[in-house]
Symmetry: C2
Subunit: 407 residues, 2 copies
């Protein structure tokens, strides 16, 4: 593969980008054959520079909710771009979009748009601290809430002082939550909770009702703000905040990735209780008020409201999960599946159920030959653009590569 276009691009990138690539898009921890660059994407598929097509189970790590290069959504983007995108003031589309979210999301009374998921979580952190001028913030250990100085999972280049008033608890563990609450005492500003546990290199866990109820109650008791970080899972679990199904409404929720089906938009939503605090912080960004992504987000929301995109995505996820369970059983190769079927993590384990890291990498490596793009460590994402045919091709590929994993 040394002379492949992908390999040439990687070599050129080594010169002009530190380590050749960075962040969640570096394939450094995947098999060496994993394409780093892609030339084209449409629907549920993407193509590498050698012309190979892949069924893409990463969906750009979330943004591809309804299919790449979606004509209706991209059409709305382009029409607004021609009218006015980044201008000296926002367009009326911003008001329309914020109204539409307030109508759609039960807990939301207001919205602030921004650009990165990290912008939204940072604004949530600041709003929680501004609410009653308190300092302590509870975070689930190992949870990802972005890559700002206060939250990047690799603290190189940051200061311990920036995390001085964080207290960590174990997701779904009410006892550890209570210990953290004791430690916070009267100084609790807020609690961050992912909609479900989707940590890197770790099997996923859905939230227990007891845990969700406990964080809500703690925030009520201490006049602190509950933040559900829906950047990753937003509109892939519910047509509402992901904890709506648990009957737990946060004070703040953070959104990004899928909002405009790949166009750059994120936001913080909040209830009236949090409005004054949100209005008291100073945050902004050069492109946060751009109208074209908002037009695309309005169209995305329209499709979310008017189609069965979610039920179809879940059905594809279940078809995949059931098929893999069958292959695992028939072949005797242990495959651990966790998380919501439409956002699964699929891991090769040993007989005792321990994750086999080499096995995970080898599994994804072999699937590449069959036009299937999986990730060994990160949770994956399905899109409503997937078809039964895509899932069947994926299952066929898995059934072909699994025997080679049994040693």
């Amino acid at each position: 593969m040394g002379g492949s276009v992908n390999e040439q691009l990687k070599q050129r990138a080594q010169r002009v980008i530190p380590n050749g690539m960075y962040g969640h898009m570096s394939v450094q921890m995947q098999s060496p054959r994993t394409p780093q660059f892609f030339s084209k994407a449409k629907g549920a598929h993407m193509w590498d520079y050698e012309g190979h097509r892949y069924i893409d189970y990463l969906c750009a790590f979330g943004p591809n909710l309804l299919g790449y290069a979606h004509e209706e959504i991209d059409g709305a983007y382009i029409a607004q771009m021609k009218q006015g995108d980044s201008v000296t003031g926002p367009s009326g589309k911003m008001v329309e979009l914020c109204e539409a979210y307030v109508d759609q999301i039960t807990h939301a009374d207001w919205v602030m748009t921004c650009k990165n998921g990290t912008d939204a979580t940072t604004m949530a952190l600041m709003t929680a601290r501004a609410h009653r001028d308190k300092r302590k913030v509870l975070l689930a250990s190992g949870a990802y809430h972005g890559a700002a100085t206060w939250c990047t999972p690799v603290p190189k280049g940051t200061l311990p002082e920036e995390r001085a008033h964080f207290i960590y608890y174990q997701y779904n563990d009410v006892e550890s939550l209570n210990a953290a609450l004791d430690e916070a005492g009267d100084d609790l500003a807020g609690i961050f909770a992912a909609p479900f546990k989707h940590d890197f290199m770790t099997p996923q866990e859905l939230p227990t009702q007891a845990y969700a109820d406990a964080v809500r109650r703690a925030c009520d008791d201490k006049d602190a703000l509950l933040i559900v970080d829906d950047v990753r899972a937003g509109f892939r679990m519910e047509r509402n905040c992901s904890w709506h199904a648990l009957n737990v409404e946060p004070d703040l929720s953070t959104w990004g990735k899928s909002l405009a089906n790949g166009h750059p938009l994120s936001c913080l939503m909040g209830n009236d209780r949090a409005r004054d605090a949100a209005g008291s912080i100073f945050v902004t960004g050069s492109f946060w008020f751009a109208a074209a992504p908002m037009a695309a987000a309005l169209k995305t929301l329209e499709i979310i409201q008017s189609t069965d995109y979610l039920e179809r995505t879940v059905a594809m996820g279940e078809r995949l999960r059931d098929g893999i369970a069958g292959i695992s059983k028939d072949s005797g190769v242990p495959i651990h599946q966790s998380g919501p079927p439409q956002m699964p993590i699929i891991m090769i384990t040993d007989e005792e159920g321990q994750v086999d890291n080499k096995g995970c990498v080898a599994f994804c490596d072999k699937l590449l030959d069959h036009g299937v793009f999986f990730h060994p460590y990160h949770n994956m994402f399905l899109t409503s653009a997937m078809t039964d045919g895509d899932i069947d091709q994926t299952l066929e590929a898995i059934s072909k590569v699994v025997p080679a994993l049994a040693r």
Copy 2:
């Protein structure tokens, strides 16, 4: 104006956005008549919802370098969007763009793309601290480097701990720089410097050679990194880093706003000395690798390289500056102009040269009636899409409104 579309949008926004708007796009500190929303933008002009056209001297606060709705640039954006924008991996366009910047920007050996200007300055901060694992960072007092927790100008919702290791000096003041360096001792990680002093509500200052030389020498002496924050001024001063003209090359430079003429893109550039440190930090964002803004940035750079956009923009700025100086002289109304002519701040003062805040707001207010959009406190931006006719119309408007300011 109560029943105007703008007023209706403002009322609706009050319900669904905290304070009705936020950040640099809130018109709260401008005159109450200032339009908050705009319906259309083309070239150097924008239109409010009542159909009034304005010559726009904010240029979206910088992004509009070459004209709104630029057909060639937007065409490149759309073509790449159809091919693949936010995908599971970057496109080869990312390599092309980073190579193009490394070729164009003297000090740059590598590039990391991101989305907000604040992303770039935050990455610069982290890189400086990662470089030799030192902590102290010098910042010019009052300088704006973004709105993250470590740098937002209104610290509400942030912790003093997040700024624990910052030391502030006065821009252009080598003595105060030296005092800050003494305080940093052996723990100096880096120094931030704006290309020129462009602080809010303050006359602007170009950098002195002595100041620029001193920060470069200090960073060399202490093995710290010099950061020129070119987010606001990038490609409006030079076709290179803004301090290239001073013969001072930074280790890191931060860019945003104008890179893709309004499409969302920012980046950190650095030299080989800073490469390992930049490669050691973990930063990422959902849309940082999107290809469409990179295609637009490549086209923008092509125009930067092949046209006289910069000379024309400067010439328009000088025409405006000279004209205003004449009007001020003839009318006896003191108008203070500072900064580069293409990024001016234009302020009404009293006889002693003290800024007259009410006068600044009234000046901008009256210009609205004549189709000219100025900002009372923030530096302004010209675009190469402006024509002699636009400048003449602006000068005519100014000569009409200035007599009313003389009391």
